[in-house]
Symmetry: C2
Subunit: 313 residues, 2 copies
């Protein structure tokens, strides 16, 4: 029952020798969701032992090259590996042309279907659901249309205590009801209260991805109480004017959003290549002052959210 994010790329538009263009991989119970697809994403996926063939859904935040140029290589590899499973790509409607050009020029022998799902960039909406998660998109503020994504685990049922199944001889037909909170009636008419039969449900976990964006308070609602907020932090505090001009954020601004949204943990990334080690640490320090639970996104890092049970009321 894992819920983890692997950082594949943490640089802004110009990569460095260590920081690659934007891409994250979300693993929810061995279902894999790729978020953005910067150049060399397929190499990063291999480097960090991610299951490249198990990605069925790709979410693209916007149409800048550092978020999509890895798609061509990844799709080519899927063709060579004779992928069969359909691949869903969520993004701006312009991505259709980008993919069509690929298919026309490099798609010979393609063995799988690519479904392009255009995302509306003007309002929050649920764009995807499966049995593990739901995904919402919401507008960010940048030089071109950009959306953030909120990945939210489905509400989990109560866990039944297996010892009690035996003790009370509970039939299969009653188990689902008990998991949904019902009590159980014994043949003699006496009632076993639900709390004696179950453990509290696990809390559903969440992860939000917000890049590229200027400081934009409207997203606070969209990401409120999220477990991990990934927010871009292209610039340090003293470069706030540059951030404003280019519709990016400082790490301090990312921290302010995390604080207002009551996020549990903040991941910052999309760092400008102008900051080298150890200077880049200032981005972290300036964020921590506002929001102590800040971490830098670094290639290969895996950020896990542990399962926790709800409190009984």
């Amino acid at each position: 029952m894992s819920f983890s994010v692997t950082i594949l790329g943490s640089s802004s538009a110009v990569p460095t020798s260590e920081r690659y263009p934007s891409a994250h991989l979300l693993n929810v119970d061995e279902h894999f969701y790729l978020i953005d697809c910067g150049e060399a994403v397929q190499i990063q996926l291999r480097k960090f032992n991610c299951k490249i063939g198990k990605i069925n859904n790709i979410f693209i935040s916007h149409m800048h090259g550092d978020h999509i140029f890895g798609l061509y290589g990844l799709l080519s590899t899927y063709i060579l590996l004779e992928r069969k499973t359909p691949l869903n790509i969520f993004g701006h409607q312009q991505i259709k042309n980008f993919i069509d050009e690929f298919i026309k020029n490099f798609g010979k022998g393609i063995t799988f279907k690519i479904n392009i799902i255009p995302v509306r960039f003007r309002k929050r909406e649920v764009i995807f659901e499966d049995d593990k998660i739901s995904v919402s998109s919401f507008p960010l503020k940048h030089s071109i249309p950009v959306c953030g994504f909120l990945f939210k685990e489905k509400q989990k049922l109560l866990n039944i205590n297996k010892d009690k199944i035996e003790e009370y001889n509970i039939p299969l037909s009653s188990i689902h009801k008990i998991k949904n909170g019902e009590n159980f009636e014994l043949p003699d008419g006496s009632i076993i209260p639900n709390k004696d039969l179950t453990f509290p449900a696990y809390i559903h976990r969440s992860y939000a991805y917000c890049t590229d964006t200027a400081y934009y308070e409207r997203i606070v609602d969209d990401v409120s109480d999220v477990d991990i907020l990934y927010h871009e932090a292209t610039f340090k505090k003293s470069d706030v004017a540059k951030a404003k001009n280019t519709f990016h954020s400082t790490s301090e601004q990312a921290a302010k959003i995390a604080l207002k949204a009551n996020a549990k943990k903040l991941l910052i990334g999309h760092f400008s290549a102008r900051y080298k080690n150890p200077d880049i640490e200032n981005l972290l320090n300036e964020s921590i002052k506002v929001f102590p639970e800040t971490y830098m996104a670094n290639e290969g890092d895996v950020h896990k959210i542990e399962l926790k049970r709800m409190q009984r009321k």
Copy 2:
């Protein structure tokens, strides 16, 4: 007066965590020539401290994705760095469409000119010359049109012995003549023979790049006596049928070409991802049996050709 090749990518179409798609960088006396442009080439260039801004000429062997998908990222970075110098791209005429699509969708604010120079793929021809080198293209044998490239240093002049300039009070006007082999006449009419004034010229160096290709003996003439022959070796000997079917070569076949061409050194690369360490060493061993001076292309390796003077006749 360097002449060296840096390996940026040595994998075949599907990269691995260690081997990137095809790209080499040739450095001739700090003039930089990029050969093929596989995904992540800009990251590799940075990783190996290559001067990304000093590349003015890019040679593309063919239109398969693993040889060109790095172009989009590289061009984007040039735009962000506000490159001014024109960039020449040599390749199949189809590359124009590929670059046009880039300009249309991602070329906003471009500050430099891209010159596309279409290469004819049917016959050997000189496609480029500057004051350092000439570059010829010649046909290879693959599933789509592919050409190899031969990079040849210009014939160098004799080197003048500076001590003799002082000794005989040689005027500037005579120096170029002496470098071209003329004798020098003293004011008293006596003749100083050229060999007493000069050191022998340096031998011009050469490098050939041949990928992707089936075993194709016709190229032996095109690359004869080359200092370094880079020849693809996608497969091992026992997979020779696969090599034939896919228009690729085995490492043994690469070695046969090197032997017939009287190359001084063979570099093999474009390895299939199916061969892992240490199994991949067999590719090298099978080549060495035929051509002992074989080396594996590995990311970051720099293969230098030292300057040597010609022998006096």
